[in-house]
Symmetry: D2
Subunit: 280 residues, 4 copies
């Protein structure tokens, strides 16, 4: 399926301020960038860099005093296989690729170390594999209210599990923390998300499981607000601390980002199958 | 200078338990491994992996019921240039290699985002560069008591800055968090540390600065317990969550690790010069 | 029913240290002290005080260098009416005696303010009154593991609700915090507790409800470890911060307290009726 | 000196909501209420209660759907002796009245138990007594920024000591927590505060010390925003959790409170003497 995504970001600064943006779609087997354009106004020299271990794409620009407009458009073709959830299993610790161990560690917003007992008490009885992660997502959906303004940039999974309210970022953090507490590697994903209302940058998470074609990453959205087959990945990281769409190094004012994504015509109902990321 | 390091680790398990060890010295330009040996008793198949972005070396073994002994010995030659601290400067955000941005993010134990105001209030007046980081280390040394047992594996920089007691791990976390809060990339380093008493695994941190030969990582030890020129690096990571010397996936009992490091004869006084890591 | 209680406390100090003890049973309508004796060895001048608003009894002694032994024995007659739980209701906020509002406030270990949403989501559907508080206790019993050493003196209800392990003190704190979050006044009670195994000081809580004979305090023990009709009250307070059995003002060493309580012969099964405190 | 205070509070509710107000000035030896008037519009039956242990005055009213206006005016004569700060000493733990021990305990927002080491490290060297508490206030003033919006109703002393920003409530909490950590009883005071700009309810704290006329409570304002001789006390409590000027039990909308206080003509410079509360 092919999607058109766009983001418009506006800033005003009083003195030169370096900005680092991470708004471009990642390139990988299952996510082909058919065309894309990044415009900076005023035109300024750019530095870009793609992080080898994640494929995240960063652009840095130093804005002179005045306004800065960043706009990104892309056509992106997603081709992620879907699989029978019942055929997607957990990978025992002794068989996990050592390269994914990183995604078992606790991180700033995902204190898996402190949620061990809760996770085991609550989810040990769930069927292992894709279905356990889906059970986690259902639990989050049923026990945490989606409330704009109920959380802030300091809010972590430890808080959300008590306070029971948050936004997509908090839902993803809690899902990640619970997976890691159970020994399932999980990572944070920022994305353009089809059918998300209102349109905005979205946050979901991926868990590392083993399906019919081998081990790999599977996407989960505990908010249930976006169509899992229409997630255009921007950045992956341990948690939100690592995939801000904009990091600036100085005082600035900003406009609310304008984000859009359009997909194929015809109302696709959200898939109930496991969506696997062709990540290689 | 050449150092001999060794570690002996002992475990007992009741059922098969996978272990991942990160006790081998990293290999990099300034740290040459002259010889090394890793023994597992009973002899078991090993899987090893070196993380490309860090050079950390991991070994996995699945222990059968009974005892597991791991012993590692190595001769390591360190050749880190030292520089005049006054010639080591901070790198402006607009000039930082994009690859080190990761080490500005807050992490599980280093909540730099929550220490911004404290860091700026306390260290903005210090001379920038190596000396500012040294000022941070001096502040930690003077304001935090080194007390075994005063902290645990949940303790983070946020706690330590209030509770004012901890061990090497806590000292390093606080140093890292304060550096990041000021825009200085910093990372956690586990190590064999010469002259550390009593001998044990040690934790220090590295800050990214720019010296006479360009930008790079410089080592700091806010405990002042080890000789900075005698740090044999094992692992680097965002914080302690990422460089455990042993991660096990199941119940086990363990013995206290036996760690040793011997260096050249002759009492070297700790250098007062900046020690730069030849990291490439 | 009549109970014999005793406590023996031993300390060693190097220099004069003031101690404040709160180990004597409170005196109130439903708890008659038939006889009691408090011995201090060496014999030292005592200061005592009964707090008007709580009836808690405090004794202060300044121990000279050397050993200090405190022993307390009492025979206590409890006469608490029991009522049909279905006839014990909540008191609307507009009708609560203004004197109990204090027990709605968040306190050090009972951060009711942070548990509002969780409490309402989880317990709004329970039948109001005694049964709602019993539902809270059942939830705690079923979702929190009783594990010695899983918590410490810094652990609060906010932690316990995530970490899911603790001791009687943590169980009581969580019960109190959840009640307050729902508008039910609740207070912490330290006690000698009949049938508690192993014998020790115990912690339960009381909730303010309205039964057939008017509004009053009802006892709850979410650990289910003691017989509710055999709770000999020592101190009441907002939480454990206010009812330590010993507060000392200086360095000391202490022995494990020896606590005992014996009750009437014959195996009484724990009552399933509401136990009301004759508190006036 | 005589002061005129007033407060106007406005609310709108959709359904009957009980409100409890604590806006009336306390009556005690050093604070004489010359005249006062409390008006509720619409006129509604009131319940009032004065808490024996604090003297706090509470009024409850159940507002019917629609608007609720509460206005309070009073003329209050303050007569607090001032003393030479150098003659105001700390009271050793063995000599503290047992009735003030309550104000040594940690509370919701004043986690004195977690600040022990910081407090001792930072303030042990200060001259004991009034001057040590003044040193604490100076430290807070110099190290914490007064920033509206930097804290919220969840913010505690533990947070403020790290985050270094807050409002009067946070300043008072930190002062209280540090005093208690050092063994100095301290309590939270809500007040009308002369010369506070802009006028609002204010928060200060009182510490228990011993002056020339015996032990008693002395007022401290670490914000330095009000004149210490012009503090008209409303409520005292362990911390802000206990002295809200309004507690409501249901959904409501509110207007910003209008608070005023006027004092004697002539610009009084703030006293540098210790202001003691005639509290008996």
């Amino acid at each position: 399926m092919e999607f058109s995504v766009s983001a418009k970001l506006g800033y005003r600064v009083q003195q030169p301020v370096p900005f680092v943006f991470n708004v471009q779609a990642r390139r990988f087997a299952g996510q082909e960038i058919v065309s894309e354009a990044l415009h900076i106004d005023p035109p300024l020299p750019l530095q870009d860099w793609t992080m080898p271990e994640s494929g995240n794409r960063y652009v840095r620009v130093t804005a002179p005093p005045g306004g800065l407009q960043v706009s990104y458009q892309a056509r992106v073709r997603l081709d992620h296989p879907t699989e029978d959830p019942g055929a997607v299993h957990e990978v025992p610790a002794g068989e996990l690729p050592l390269s994914v161990l990183t995604h078992l560690y606790p991180s700033r917003y995902c204190q898996a170390d402190r949620l061990q007992r809760f996770a085991h008490r609550t989810f040990d009885a769930a069927p292992p594999g894709y279905q356990r992660v889906a059970t986690i997502c259902n639990w989050i959906h049923d026990n945490v209210d989606y409330v704009s303004g109920a959380s802030d940039e300091l809010t972590s999974a430890y808080d959300t599990i008590v306070q029971r309210a948050g936004v997509c970022r908090d839902f993803a953090h809690l899902g990640i923390a619970l997976c890691r507490a159970l020994g399932i590697p999980a990572r944070y994903v920022s994305a353009y998300a089809w059918r998300l209302e209102p349109p905005d940058f979205h946050a979901v998470f991926e868990a590392f499981l083993r399906g019919p074609s081998g081990p790999g990453w599977y996407v989960f959205d505990p908010t249930r607000m976006a169509a899992p087959e229409g997630i255009v990945r921007i950045g992956i990281g341990r948690d939100a601390a690592e995939v801000a769409f904009c990091t600036q190094f100085g005082a600035m004012e900003f406009d609310k980002p304008e984000v859009s994504i359009t997909g194929p015509d015809g109302a696709a109902s959200a898939t109930t199958r496991a969506v696997r990321v062709q990540d290689a």
